[in-house]
Amino acid sequence: MMNLTLSQRKKYKTISLGLLSWVVALVFFFPILWMFMTSFKTELQAIAVPPLWTWEPTFENFAIVQERSDYFKFAMNSIVTSFGATLLALLIAVPAAYSMAFFPSKHTKDILLWMLSTKMLPAVGVLMPIYLLTKSAGLLDNVFSLIIIFTMINLPIIMWMLFSYFREIPKEILEASRMDGATTLGELRHVVMPLSWGGIASTGLLSIVLCWNEAFWSINLTSANAGTLTALIASYSSPEGLFWAKLSAASTLACAPIVVFGWFCQKQLVQGLTFGAVK
């Protein structure tokens, strides 16, 4: 290694980093790949020891899931709650983050930290109060209650991300717009939002993914009508009997829309995760 030229060292470094990235990516992707493969196995093949790598694929599990569950109802609930909660959260977070980024008070930092600290509370700790409140409001098994809860649980992270994006906008631009007579709302609509559109979009995408994957509240607050795809997956776990293949098929069907969605939006997602609050 000592005799290598600078360009050779660079080349080895690039190759090593590339290999490491592939290994890390494969480790992360492996459970999804395994789930996908298992969904095309029979129950007996799914539990085979040692695991099967080659087999004759079957679509039987997908047919069973389709027959037993109304997939489209669950999927529609997932879409409505994910997009609804994201829209509501953005409606609240954009003006709040704008205010905190451009007109900070001495408590702004504390408020932001306090908001983030609510994420540290285990969800089950507030199950009973939330359940009772939802019941009193007559919103048990209703997607509207899920939208409100998803909004609340994602609001801190959305606020932080938007706050970080807005802080990157030079204050001089805002001052110039004010000089031109822009009102606060006009400044937000015509200056701040167009300048940070990429950031808002990536924050929204991340929120959609987080809402889509939320399981605790979906399972606990819904029954026959408002269950999302995570509730559908949970229903395929069985205490007595083999269920891995059917569970994998249900999981594959539940993941598919968001994976496709994420694939199309990966540029914005990566941008959101590398340029915002978590950079």
Partner: protein, 435 residues
């Protein structure tokens, strides 16, 4: 924009709303297992016969189901009209007035329901849940391996004999382990099995003053024997194994013996699922000093929460789903080997069922011999074979199960595990002001 937002709000409210069931609409909470799934399919016939009743199904994982129905029933959420509950919950919830008493007409033939099931789902002489399927526990073993080792297994063999058979058939090089038993922590997992084993060693959970007895010599003998047996002749990683994990091993031909729920017999003798379907024999559970409580008793049963407004329809549905006619419907649709067992005498008397289910006699014998009111050698103040039917037991069972699993994994000694278990149980019982 305003119009768009308003229409989106309206659409949101209309999709997935309506938690309160409409008249004639029943929401049924159930677990995901073969018999329940079949009921869901066949319930279309019930709907066809009762056009004014529509059924909505909520299928949940067992632990989640318990949490959901408990939350719902204690807060009066009214999310469910029919609930699937177990033999642990039925007498407790019935006694607290959380469930409606079930009334059946003469056609239902309540006396045909196995007495053990009827008794376990009742309190104060009132039936609060109807068994959909029931089970006990028994020994399921590979007759080919036992025979090849020159051994035999009778009903209720001694635990010493089981250890000898396990030693004789244990052959990890060929991927066969002498015995597979539950080790995963949980009151319904390792503690269900371990309690029956401890019962047969003369142990009990509580004395007549409700003082925990986990530090008694009987518990120590039982757990020491269990850990030693599993360490020598069990599969690796047993502390993570429960019913499904062992079922997978057994179907692959990797377990010589297995003591677990009788429902397993229908899976391991099914050639579509099992590679050893034709090599299995059954015996009643092993014993040490007593047969009392050596095999458990459990039922998944249907009950009506007190808060429902649809109790008449719910009663109608339960009467249908747990009737003799339903069992015949399953037999007609899927064959007698697929009917829900462990509930009715008439099922076991049916020659077609006897022919189709090779495990029928062993299962019935196990169920009939389990007595939740007399399950320990020494007297106790509680009811239940593999559990004590008190609300505090869930928490105690989970805490004790974790210690037993740690002992099996070799992380702590059996003595230490039982000491910690005793402390945890004592704390819970004091907190609940039993003494």
């Amino acid at each position: 924009m305003k119009k768009l937002l308003l229409s989106m709000f309206a659409a949101t409210m209309s999709i997935g709303s309506g938690s309160a069931a409409f008249a004639g609409e029943l929401t049924i909470a159930t677990v995901n297992n073969g018999h329940m799934v079949e009921m869901q399919k066949l319930s279309k016939q019930f709907e066809a016969q009762n056009r004014d009743i529509k059924l909505n199904w909520v299928v949940l994982e067992e632990g989640t189901l318990r949490q959901r129905v408990t939350t719902d029933i204690t807060t009066g959420g009214g999310q469910f009209d029919v609930m699937t509950i177990g033999m642990y919950e039925a007498p407790i919830w019935g006694g607290k007035g959380w469930l409606k008493k079930l009334d059946f007409n003469t056609d239902y033939d309540i006396l045909d329901v196995l007495p053990a099931m009827r008794g376990g789902l009742s309190t104060g002489g009132k039936v609060y849940a109807a068994p959909f399927y029931g089970e006990s526990s028994m020994l399921m073993y590979r007759k080919d391996l036992v025979k090849a080792a020159g051994m035999t297994i009778e009903d209720n063999p001694s635990w010493g004999h089981i250890r000898d058979v396990a030693a004789a058939i244990h052959n990890p090089q060929d991927g066969v382990y002498g015995i597979c038993l539950r080790g995963k922590p949980g009151w319904g997992d390792n503690m269900a099995f371990l309690t029956t084993m401890a019962n047969s060693f003369g142990a009990r959970w509580f004395d007549e003053e409700w003082k925990p007895q986990l530090d008694s010599p009987a518990w120590e003998h039982a757990v020491t024997f269990y850990v030693d047996l599993m360490t020598k002749y069990g599969p690796p990683g047993s502390s993570s194994n429960s019913f499904n994990e062992i079922l997978a091993l057994y179907n692959e031909g990797k377990c010589g013996m297995w003591i677990d729920a009788t429902i397993a017999a229908s899976f391991i003798t099914d050639p579509k699922q099992s590679k050893v379907a034709n090599k299995i024999a059954f015996a009643q559970s092993p014993i040490a000093v007593t047969t009392r409580g050596a095999n458990w008793l459990w039922a998944w049963a249907l009950a009506i929460p007190a808060g429902t407004k649809q109790s008449a329809d719910a009663q109608k549905f339960i009467s249908w789903a747990t009737s003799k006619e339903y069992i015949e419907l399953v037999a007609k649709t899927n064959g007698w080997a697929s009917v829900p067992t462990g509930t009715r005498t008439s099922t076991y008397n049916n020659p077609n069922f006897q022919k189709a289910a090779v495990f029928a006699d062993a299962e019935l014998k196990a169920i009939l011999s389990a007595d939740p009111k007399n399950s320990t050698l020494e007297p106790t103040p509680y009811q239940g074979v593999q559990f004590a039917a008190i609300p505090e037991f869930q928490a105690i069972g989970i805490a004790v199960g974790q210690q037993m699993s740690a002992a099996l994994a070799g992380n702590i000694s059996v003595k230490e595990a039982l000491k910690r278990a005793q402390k945890a149980a004592d704390r819970e019982m004091r907190k609940a002001r039993y003494y």
